[in-house]
């Protein structure tokens, strides 16, 4: 018998119920590569099929996720001293901090439920860039709530066909991350193309 991590997680969920869902999502929030979105979808389906409790599962799961995110933020925060020492004086780091202070909220919110593949680095950057915890917590609460409502709701709606919708969501989320990479790449190419290139000939002929 070969058991992958996802199958193990599903087996544990069915065997140990809501506390296990909370534990898996806590470690997922911390950055351990567990299939968090799949667990939320499966939770919805398992609730529909009376395998999990309809009250304690979403509550404990949500709590586990928030705690995991909070702890990861704290790890980023305590690692910031090292990052500050190493990169703090560079203009790139300062401008990244400024950018995150201005636009970080939307990044935190979107990576909780839509672009979940990049949630880990965003949380670490939030913690290490001095982003205020209260603001992070607010966006985190809202984003994760949406994650639970949408994906858990889809699992509930699809019931015993939940694996089909889970595949779709995984592909959709990956598609969006690909689109984000494409957008950032094109933006960077356009910006860099406007700047004079250092080692280009002075007369512009190449």
């Amino acid at each position: 018998m070969s058991i992958d991590l996802t199958s193990l997680a599903l087996g544990w969920m069915a065997a140990y119920g809501a506390p296990m869902v909370a534990g898996i999502l806590f470690f997922g929030g911390l950055g351990v590569p567990v299939p968090g979105t799949l667990v939320v979808i499966a939770s919805g389906a398992f609730i529909r099929q009376s395998l999990l409790d309809a009250v304690s599962t979403p509550l404990l799961g949500y709590l586990g996720t928030i705690l995991g995110d909070g702890l990861l933020f704290a790890i980023g925060f305590f690692a910031s001293h090292w990052i500050e020492r190493r990169f703090g004086a560079t203009s790139a780091w300062k401008s990244a901090q400024d950018l995150f202070e201005r636009r970080g909220g939307i990044a935190i919110f979107l990576t909780r439920w839509l672009l979940t593949a990049v949630a880990l680095p965003v949380t670490l950057v939030a913690g290490s860039s001095g982003y205020r915890f209260r603001k992070f917590f607010l966006y985190d609460l809202l984003g994760e709530l949406l994650w639970f409502v949408i994906y858990g709701g889809l699992g509930y709606a699809f019931g015993s066909q939940w694996e089909l919708i889970s595949d779709f969501i995984s592909n959709f989320s990956g598609f969006l991350v690909g689109a984000l990479a494409l957008g950032v790449g094109i933006y960077a190419l356009v910006r860099l193309g406007r700047k004079p290139v250092k080692n280009a000939p002075a007369d512009g002929s190449v």
């Binding site: 529909r48 009376s50 066909q161 995984s170 592909n171 984000l180």
Partner: protein, 211 residues
Amino acid sequence: MKNLLNRLKSVSLAQWLALALVILGLGVMIYKARGMLEFYKEVQYASQHDFAAGNLSPDLIRPWMSLRYVAAAFAVPQQYLYQAANIQPKKETSMIAINRLNSQMDLGKVDGQPALMQTLRAAILAYRANPVATGLLEKQVENWMTMQYVANSCAISVESLFEGLNLPAQGNAYKPLNFLATETDYSGGPKALLANIQKIVDERCVKPAVP
């Protein structure tokens, strides 16, 4: 050629990285779009073959279906499917997709499809040729079950089930019980319907062969 080489040399590392990001992004998007297309095809497949109509061909089984889904759609007791496929009955094995179960059991593929699909198809045909009332493995009536599923598992005629509940049988035998209660506006809703079916099951259902 020389011009091209000079031009390439003038491209900075940052520009190369941005280009790599563009290519990576495009690659991921194409790969994931193919996955989404598969989903669309499966949804089309499900809508083309009305699974609520009953009497389905076993060839319609798909890798994403769970054992529970197959049991309800084809009205074959889960107990029977478990035994036919030599699977240990557990809560989660009932709920996970056939392809995942197939991987867990290292069953490999037959004609490019999970071998478990073949086993289940054969089990459905064998059951239809020689129906066996196993009793309800689940012990209690649940909202994912259909009237036909309960009837077949318990060796109760589906017509008498509908009569006992004062519900029209026409077109309703393969609908999940929670949908059936909603669609027929059953007095007391799905909970009352499940409770009333449970009463009939407690009185008339054969006992499970394996507890």
